[in-house]
C-alpha cells in the first residue's frame, strides 16, 4: 500500500516535469529556440496561481482566495505573456546569445521571488496553497491517487494538443524556422510572429506545470526555481529526444526516476553526516546517464531526426549574400 502511494506521488511529480519538458520541446525541439530560462516561467506560474488562490494574507499582496482552476488559467496567461514578452525582447538573438538572455530572465524572476517580499513572501515563500482534494489529505493513498489522476489528465490534454499542433501546418512552419529561417521567410512566413508564439505557448505550458506543482505540494519558495530545475528539464528533453512529444514525457519520467532513485540510494548508503555531500552523486548519476544515452542514441530515446549543427546557425552568413558584396 505504501509502495502504491509512493508510486502515485512519484508519478505525479514526474508528470509535472513532463509538462515542463513538453513546453520546452515546443520551443527547442520544434522551433529551435534555445530557452535556458525554463525555471523562471515555472516560477511565474507557481507564484501567479498561489497569489490568486491563497486566502488573504496581510504580509503580502493577495491572496485572492479564488478557485484553483482560476489560478491555473491565470498562471498560463501570465506565464504565456511573460514568455511572449521575453520572445519579443529577444527577437534578434540566436542560439548562445538567446540562451544567455533567457538564463538571465530566469535569474531575475528567481531574485524577484526571493526579494519582493510584499509580492511573493520573500525567502519564506507562500504556504497554505489550496490543494485539490485537500479533504482527502487524511488518507494519503487516496489523496495521492486523485492528484495523480488530475495531473495525468492535464498532461494528457497538453500532450494531445501539442501532438495535434506539431503535425499541423502551424507546426510545420515552426519546424521550417528551426531548419532555415531565411528560407521560411522567403516563403512568406513571419519568423518573428511564430517565434513569439512558440515562446508564449511553451511558457504557458511551463507555467501551468509550475501551478500544478504548487497546488500539489501546498507550499512554494524561491529555492524551488533555481537554475538546477532548468538543467533537469533540459536533460529530460535530451534523453527523451528533442522534437518528440512522447520522448519528452518518457524522458522526464526516466530522468526523474534516476534522480529520485539515486537520492533514495544515497540516503541508504551514506551516514547522515555525509548526506549533504552524497547528494552531489545524484547529479553525477544524471550526468553519467546523459553521457551513456548520447553515446548509444545521440538523438535521445525517441528523437528520429539526425543530429546536425544547430549552434550558430543564425550567425552563419548567407553565402549568396556575401558573394555579391
Amino acid at each position: 500500500m505504501d509502495l502504491l502511494g509512493y508510486g502515485a506521488f512519484f508519478l505525479t511529480t514526474a508528470l509535472i516535469f513532463s509538462l515542463v519538458t513538453l513546453g520546452l520541446n515546443l520551443q527547442w525541439g520544434l522551433t529551435g529556440l534555445f530557452n535556458v530560462g525554463v525555471a523562471g516561467f515555472v516560477a511565474i506560474g507557481a507564484y501567479t496561481s498561489a497569489l490568486l488562490t491563497t486566502p488573504d494574507d496581510a504580509a503580502r499582496l493577495g491572496g485572492f482566495g479564488l478557485p484553483i482552476l482560476v489560478g491555473w488559467l491565470g498562471a498560463m496567461l501570465v506565464g504565456g505573456v511573460a514568455a511572449a514578452i521575453t520572445g519579443i525582447a529577444t527577437l534578434r538573438l540566436r542560439s548562445d546569445y538567446l540562451a544567455i538572455t533567457t538564463f538571465g530572465v530566469a535569474v531575475v524572476v528567481q531574485l524577484v521571488a526571493l526579494n519582493a517580499q510584499k509580492l511573493t513572501g520573500g525567502p519564506f515563500g507562500i504556504g497554505f496553497i489550496p490543494r485539490p482534494f485537500g479533504g482527502l489529505a487524511e488518507t494519503p493513498l487516496l489523496f495521492n491517487l486523485s492528484n495523480l489522476a488530475i495531473v495525468f489528465v492535464m498532461t494528457l490534454i497538453v500532450y494531445l494538443a501539442l501532438e495535434h499542433l506539431s503535425r499541423s501546418p502551424w507546426g510545420r512552419v515552426l519546424n521550417a524556422l528551426r531548419e532555415d529561417e531565411r528560407a521560411a521567410i522567403s516563403l512568406g512566413k513571419s519568423a518573428r510572429f511564430y517565434r513569439v508564439q512558440a515562446f508564449g505557448v511553451g511558457g504557458a505550458i511551463m507555467a501551468l506545470a509550475g501551478a500544478l506543482q504548487a497546488h500539489f505540494t501546498g507550499f512554494i519558495a524561491p529555492d524551488n526555481y533555481l537554475p538546477a530545475l532548468t538543467f533537469q528539464v533540459w536533460v529530460m528533453l535530451i534523453v527523451g529526444g528533442a522534437g518528440s512529444n512522447i520522448g519528452a514525457v518518457i524522458g522526464s519520467i526516466l530522468v526523474w526516476a534516476i534522480w529520485a532513485g539515486s537520492g533514495a540510494l544515497t540516503s541508504v548508503l551514506f551516514s547522515p553526516e555525509q548526506q549533504a555531500r552524497a547528494a552531489s552523486l545524484q547529479i553525477v548519476a544524471i550526468g553519467v546517464m546523459l553521457c551513456v544515452i548520447l553515446l548509444v542514441r545521440p538523438n535521445g530515446l525517441f528523437g528520429d531526426r539526425p543530429r546536425r549543427a544547430r549552434f550558430g546557425k543564425g550567425a552563419k552568413a548567407a553565402p549568396d549574400e556575401s558573394a555579391a558584396r
Binding site: A161, H164, L165, S168, P169, W170, R172, V173, N175, A176, E179, D180, R182, A183, A184, I185, S186, L187, G188, K189, S190, A191, Q197, V201, R305, P306, R308, A318, P319, D320, E321, A323, A324, R325
Partner: protein
C-alpha cells in the same frame, strides 16, 4: 517575339520595377542607382561578372535587405519598405544561389510549406476549424505532388530533402516557389553546379512555367542558358547597369566583354 507583342507588353504595368535603387554596405556601393522594368511574361536575364551586385540586387527585390535609397514596385505598388515574407504574398517568389531546402522536412512538406494563406498556419484554427484546415491540407498536398511531378522529383516526395543532389535541390526550390502562385520568380543561378542532363530539365521546366504566364528574372553565368531562355538581358558591373538588350546584342557589346574579362570589375 514579334514587334506587335512587344508593343503590347510595354503598355502593360511592369511586374517588377526598380527605380534608382541604391544600396550601400559601409563604404561600398553594392548597387548603384539601378533602374529597370520586368515586363509581364518575359524571361529577363541578369548577368555580370562576380561582385557586380547581382545577388544584392536580388535581395533588394525580394526584401531580404532594404535599399539605402530608391524604390521597388511590384505590379505598380511600392514595396520598398516591406519585409521579405510579405512580398511573396504579393506575387514575388525567389530561389537562392545555394539552394535552401529544409533538410529534415520531406520534399512534400517543403513544397506544402510554401502555400499561402493556409488557415492551419494559425494556431487556434487547428482547434476551432479542424475540417477547414484538413481540407486545405489535402488540396495543398495534391498540388504539391503535381508540382513535384512537374520538376521530375515526385518519386522522392516522402524523402527528407537532405537526400537530394545539388541539382535536385534547385528543382525542389522551383517547385516550392511555384506553390506560392507567384506572378514573378527570381532565380539565382539555376544552372550553377548542375549536370548537363539536369540542366536540360531545368531549362525545360522554366520554359514550361513561363508558358503558363509566369515571369522570370534570372541571374546566370551560363551564357548558353541565358541565350536559350532569355528574351532580354541586363548586364551589371560594379554595381551599375551597364547595358540592356537581347542576348545576342549584349554578347557582342565590347563593354560587356571587357567587364567580364576584368576591366571594370
Amino acid at each position: 517575339m514579334s514587334d506587335t507583342t512587344e508593343r503590347q507588353e510595354e503598355i502593360r504595368t511592369p511586374v517588377l520595377t526598380a527605380r534608382n535603387v541604391l544600396r550601400r554596405f559601409g563604404g561600398l556601393v553594392a548597387v548603384n542607382n539601378v533602374s529597370f522594368d520586368v515586363r509581364p511574361g518575359e524571361i529577363l536575364g541578369l548577368i555580370g561578372p562576380n561582385g557586380a551586385g547581382k545577388t544584392t540586387m536580388f535581395d533588394l527585390l525580394a526584401g531580404s535587405i532594404l535599399p539605402t535609397s530608391g524604390e521597388i514596385l511590384l505590379n505598380g505598388v511600392s514595396v520598398s519598405g516591406e519585409a521579405a515574407h510579405r512580398r511573396i504574398r504579393r506575387g514575388l517568389g525567389r530561389t537562392f544561389q545555394i539552394p535552401r531546402p529544409l533538410p529534415n522536412l520531406t520534399l512534400i512538406e517543403n513544397v506544402m510549406l510554401a502555400a499561402q494563406g493556409q488557415a492551419g498556419e494559425k494556431l487556434l484554427a487547428n482547434f476551432l476549424t479542424p475540417r477547414r484546415v484538413a481540407a486545405e491540407e489535402r488540396a495543398a498536398e495534391i498540388r504539391a505532388v503535381e508540382l513535384l511531378e512537374l520538376v521530375t522529383i515526385a518519386h522522392l516526395a516522402h524523402e527528407p530533402a537532405r537526400v537530394l543532389s545539388g541539382g535536385q535541390r534547385k528543382l525542389l526550390e522551383l517547385a516550392r516557389v511555384m506553390m506560392a502562385d507567384p506572378a514573378i520568380i527570381l532565380l539565382d543561378e539555376p544552372a550553377a553546379g548542375v549536370n548537363a542532363t539536369l540542366l536540360e530539365i531545368i531549362i525545360d521546366r522554366i520554359r514550361d512555367i513561363n508558358a503558363r504566364g509566369i515571369t522570370f528574372l534570372l541571374i546566370e553565368h551560363n551564357i548558353d542558358m541565358v541565350t536559350r531562355l532569355c528574351h532580354r538581358v541586363l548586364v551589371m558591373a560594379s554595381g551599375q547597369l551597364l547595358r540592356e538588350g537581347t542576348p545576342d546584342e549584349v554578347a557582342r557589346d565590347p563593354r560587356v566583354i571587357e567587364a567580364y574579362l576584368g576591366g571594370t570589375a
